[in-house]
Symmetry: C2
Subunit: 205 residues, 2 copies
Amino acid sequence: MNLQYHSQLLESAVEEFSRLPGIGRKTALRLVLHLLKEDKKLAEALGNSIIRLRNEVKQCKICLNISDNEFCHICTDSSRDQSVICVVESIKDILVIENTQQFRGVYHVLGGIISPMDGIGPGDLSIPMLEERVKKGGIKELILALSATMEGDTTNYYLYRRFNPYNLMITTLARGVSIGDELEYTDEITLGRSILNRIPYEAKT
Amino acid sequence: MNLQYHSQLLESAVEEFSRLPGIGRKTALRLVLHLLKEDKKLAEALGNSIIRLRNEVKQCKICLNISDNEFCHICTDSSRDQSVICVVESIKDILVIENTQQFRGVYHVLGGIISPMDGIGPGDLSIPMLEERVKKGGIKELILALSATMEGDTTNYYLYRRFNPYNLMITTLARGVSIGDELEYTDEITLGRSILNRIPYEAKT
């Protein structure tokens, strides 16, 4: 259904909404008609928060996490272990890891992952910035928390080679059977790895 | 998953997006991170078009269709039959009917439908405005193009009673088996109505 709107304003709002991922023209129209029907304040708040977000949000000058200030709340948190850096692909990964409440170190956002297919090489990532942090000293461990994909493995290997000369521990996330998963439905590569990397059984008492 | 953002700007953008229908916090976050990653212009264009839409779009002073000008493109189109008014619930219905390219008359947007359950009575709809149009004369037919629901039927009945005193034809949309539907899967009420309202067979030659 290719509707004709005959209103430039409606047309352009639908157009802009449908540029967003996962939003087609039909959903865009629904959102736009909703905004037209609801209180004016709703549309203004949405519009302004989008513009402010893009213009005012900053990147932390240490780790590239997003931040309302020059340095993010994690890098400036003195209770966190500044000697352990968890290297992630994107900001979203920080949100997800923080949500586990299992990590008390700091982060470094690569801004991507090495992917020759997409034309992304090491030069496109914030690796020199990470190297500066390491060179300054005081870093004991780099945790490579990248995706368990071929691109993730490639990036892990590259980072390992690059940071091995510095005297620090380099670790990656444990791979294995997801908690709650039945063995029957676990893919064989994961299962194979989790047998190779088996750990001593800890009896819960 | 209830993520903590630690950025007021991010938080408020996610908040505003998730007020939209069908968009939860997870989708909102995805959209916001997309806007952060993409060109600044994309976010500005979206933000501005939302604000402009709400501030600048007008309602046609005749039919309440949305319009960039005082009168909409349908009411000002001299090739359309101004004596036939198609009464619809919302702007979206105009878009859908226009898309069929089967109607050459004009519209009137009620702005809702009589629904005692939702506390919407005739006084909440643009019925007086429609009555003014009819009183001015020159209207031959009102087509009641409302939903085939109980609320639609109630509204049809109310409009019929109200506009019957004026000397004009009042019609409603034909109800019947959808084109392409198998009888087996047609609900019995629709099927029953379509038997009662059967029409002479026109042989295609």
